[in-house]
């Protein structure tokens, strides 16, 4: 645990944390408690909302430079991201991007204290996090994006993937930083995998000291306001054109290739290995699978990959991530699909989950396309989505699965910004971090209207446990709140889908089915070519405008009105 210091940041609430990081007296709050933007989704579920929805947006200066500081209140609903809080974060990053693009330098800082998606607003949280990630990646091209993980909650779930995208991360010893919370891993994988009551084990795996010692955070600080404020200032001063962790695909693939998952591993060994690999020559290719690709099970992801690409014997960097190029009408298309590999060297990723190897392999094949097309004519990239979840396990957390998933997020987003039409086709499950990594950064999302197509933030069992409800109560709540439902029809009412496609045999597509989907993909690619490279289209669909994203749109609009109001006062 951190020593008790005189001037603790952890003990401050979200608003006072912002004031502590900004230059004294410069704090101006946007969308504060009196602006009436609370969650519209919590009261119908019998949950008391908070007037700022648990996120404080402060403008002011850092060391004399214009800045925006975003702070998440960990004491309110575990710092979970809902529609309003998510839109406050995404919206302010989008405005910081706009200003930096215009040459108005604005330093972005996020003070994390979050369990990830707020499960009571499940799909709104997941959607928001994909939009936050997109903004961070675009913003990073102009200015360093600096994050602080002080504790007590730490940084988990989809927001740990977001943090993985940041240019510079500062953390205290007392904080924890990982994809899956200990309780969720215990629920999904059993107490033998991870004992959520064993505190030394938890901090030894995902605590600040271990994260710093294996390079997942850049700086370890004491819980002291002055020290943290200086670290934030220094981060902007120091950061030049450094390569982000999530862009170091060959390094991390090589690092993971040195792990033998059939043997026990411990935090100390990983620290030593990390030091060793950091100073070694990094090969461009790695060999991490020794299994022959025999009798690989069929799955929707595999069936649709073969059907659309026409590649009968697909190859990939690893057997669980298929990719290949083919021609669709006048378009060159790279198809990517994550599929089950029962022989996966990581046992927790044998059913089609996006695990450590999968995240970095996706990043490898997406970045390969970007690199090959960098002189023009960016090919389309189609993510075929059939992913039950991210991999839940002890090894996964220790080895930084949130960075593997962030690497995939980063690669798709980078491709999109480089002008590649990135299209997702959901043919099966699109759950949680797996969907964030594989499919949620696309310009256009298409989905089959089929009972086997589910979009959600967490399995029902885990969601029930974490929100302390029975599965029956959870299902009851999903009837009233479409964002909590698992079925794709409810999901489509949020407006994130470009098209929901009826009448397709999702398991064994026939010739007509395949042709229909090819036509739909072609339409989506052509539509994307003439439109902006960001994700703004998700807020412009008929469904989004007619109620699906009401709070997301309103929050962004009010935020924009307040963004520069101080300058207006000066000039009048």
């Amino acid at each position: 645990m951190s020593p008790i210091t005189k001037n603790s940041l952890i003990e401050l609430n979200a608003r006072d944390r912002v004031k502590a990081v900004l230059d004294e007296g410069s704090f101006r709050e946007l969308l504060g408690p009196f602006d009436g933007l609370e969650s519209p989704h919590l009261p119908p579920q019998g949950i008391v909302p908070q007037s700022d929805d648990g996120v404080v947006i402060g403008r002011g200066q850092i060391d004399g430079e214009e800045a925006v500081v975003i702070s998440i209140e960990g004491s309110f609903q575990g710092g979970g991201i809902g529609e309003v809080s998510g839109a406050k974060i995404a919206g302010s990053l989008e405005l910081a991007l706009r200003d930096n693009k215009k040459g108005i330098k604005t330093l972005p800082v996020m003070l994390f204290d979050t369990g990830g998606v707020r499960l009571q607003e499940a799909n709104y949280g997941l959607l928001s996090i994909s939009e936050i990630g997109a903004a961070v990646i675009a913003l990073r091209q102009h200015v360093p994006v600096v994050g602080v993980i002080p504790g007590n909650v730490g940084c988990f779930g989809g927001m740990s993937i977001t943090a993985g995208l940041f240019s510079h991360l500062i953390m205290t010893k007392g904080a924890r930083f990982g994809l899956n919370g200990p309780e969720v891993i215990e629920q999904e994988a059993g107490i033998e995998e991870f004992d959520s009551s064993d505190r030394p084990l938890i901090w030894g795996t995902i605590g600040g000291t271990q994260r710093f010692s294996t390079g997942f955070v850049d700086e370890l600080v004491d819980d002291d306001v002055t020290e943290i404020r200086k670290a934030v200032q220094q981060a902007f001063f120091d950061k030049g054109k450094e390569i982000n962790k999530t862009e170091q695909v060959d390094f991390y693939r090589h690092f993971l290739s040195q792990i033998d998952p059939s043997k026990p591993i411990d935090p100390q060994t990983i620290r030593e290995l990390w030091k060793q690999v950091r100073n070694a020559d990094i090969p461009k290719e790695v060999d991490v699978h020794s299994f022959p690709e025999l009798d690989m099970p069929n799955s929707r992801g595999r069936a649709w990959f073969k059907a659309l690409s026409g590649i009968e014997e697909p190859k990939g960097n690893i057997p669980s991530v298929l990719y290949g190029d083919s021609i669709l009408g006048k378009e060159r298309v790279r198809y990517i699909s994550v599929v089950p590999n029962p022989y996966n060297r990581f046992p927790r990723a044998r059913h089609g989950e996006v695990g450590l190897d999968e995240g970095w392999a996706i990043a490898k094949c997406v970045r390969d396309a970007v690199e090959k097309d960098k002189n023009g004519d960016p090919r389309a990239i189609v993510a075929i989505v059939d992913v039950p979840s991210q991999a839940y396990g002890y090894r996964e957390e220790l080895l930084g699965i949130h960075f593997a998933l962030a690497a995939a997020v980063d690669s798709y987003s980078t491709a999109r910004l480089a002008g590649h039409p990135v299209i997702s086709l959901i043919v099966g499950n699109a759950i949680s971090g797996a969907f964030l990594a594989h499919g949620y950064q696309s310009n256009r999302i298409l989905a089959l209207n089929d009972d086997g197509v589910n979009v959600h933030a967490m399995s029902k069992q885990s969601a029930a446990r974490i929100t302390r409800r029975s599965i029956r109560d959870l299902e009851e709540a999903t009837r009233r709140v479409p964002a909590m439902a698992y079925d794709v029809t409810s999901y489509s009412s949020l407006g994130a889908l470009y098209e929901l496609i009826d009448g397709i045999d999702a398991d064994t597509p026939g010739e007509q089915d395949i042709q229909t989907i090819k036509d739909k993909l072609t339409d989506a690619i052509v539509d994307t070519r003439s439109r902006p490279h960001d994700l703004s289209n998700r807020l412009l669909t008929k469904e989004a405008i007619n109620g699906g994203r009401t709070a997301s749109i309103k929050t962004r609009k009010l935020l924009e009105q307040q963004w520069n109001s101080i300058h207006m006062i000066y000039s009048s």
Binding site: P33, F34, P43, G46, I47, V48, P49, Q50
Partner: protein, 103 residues
């Protein structure tokens, strides 16, 4: 969740609006706004149902001593009467600070 409302006659005014607390375990947030209708109007949303009498006892006493004309919004997450009283006093204190530009 339960919504409770209370009203008291008031004679005093407050200088500015104030906000204290968070909707976290055992805590609550209080929003205080000046009002010109000579009343304190309190709206409470609480996750702990069935404590209307306890709320009344705390508020009767507080607004008897501090008869301020204000719109009071409370979002409660299981705060004890002692914590409620403390947060109300804190909100009142902040609301009576003279704003910077009037000093």
């Amino acid at each position: 969740m339960e919504t409770l409302t209370f009203e008291y006659n008031a004679t005093r005014t407050i200088h500015q609006r104030s906000h204290v607390g968070v909707v976290g375990s055992g805590d609550l947030e209080v929003l205080l706004e000046p009002s010109s209708n000579g009343q304190a109007q309190i709206t409470i949303r609480t996750g702990s149902e069935g404590f209307g009498d306890a709320w009344k006892a705390v508020l009767d006493r507080f607004f008897l001593v501090n008869d301020i004309a204000a719109k009071v919004t409370i979002n409660d997450f299981g705060a004890t009467p002692g914590v409620v009283n403390l947060r109300l006093a804190q909100a009142l204190e902040v609301s009576q600070d003279v704003p910077n530009h009037q000093k």
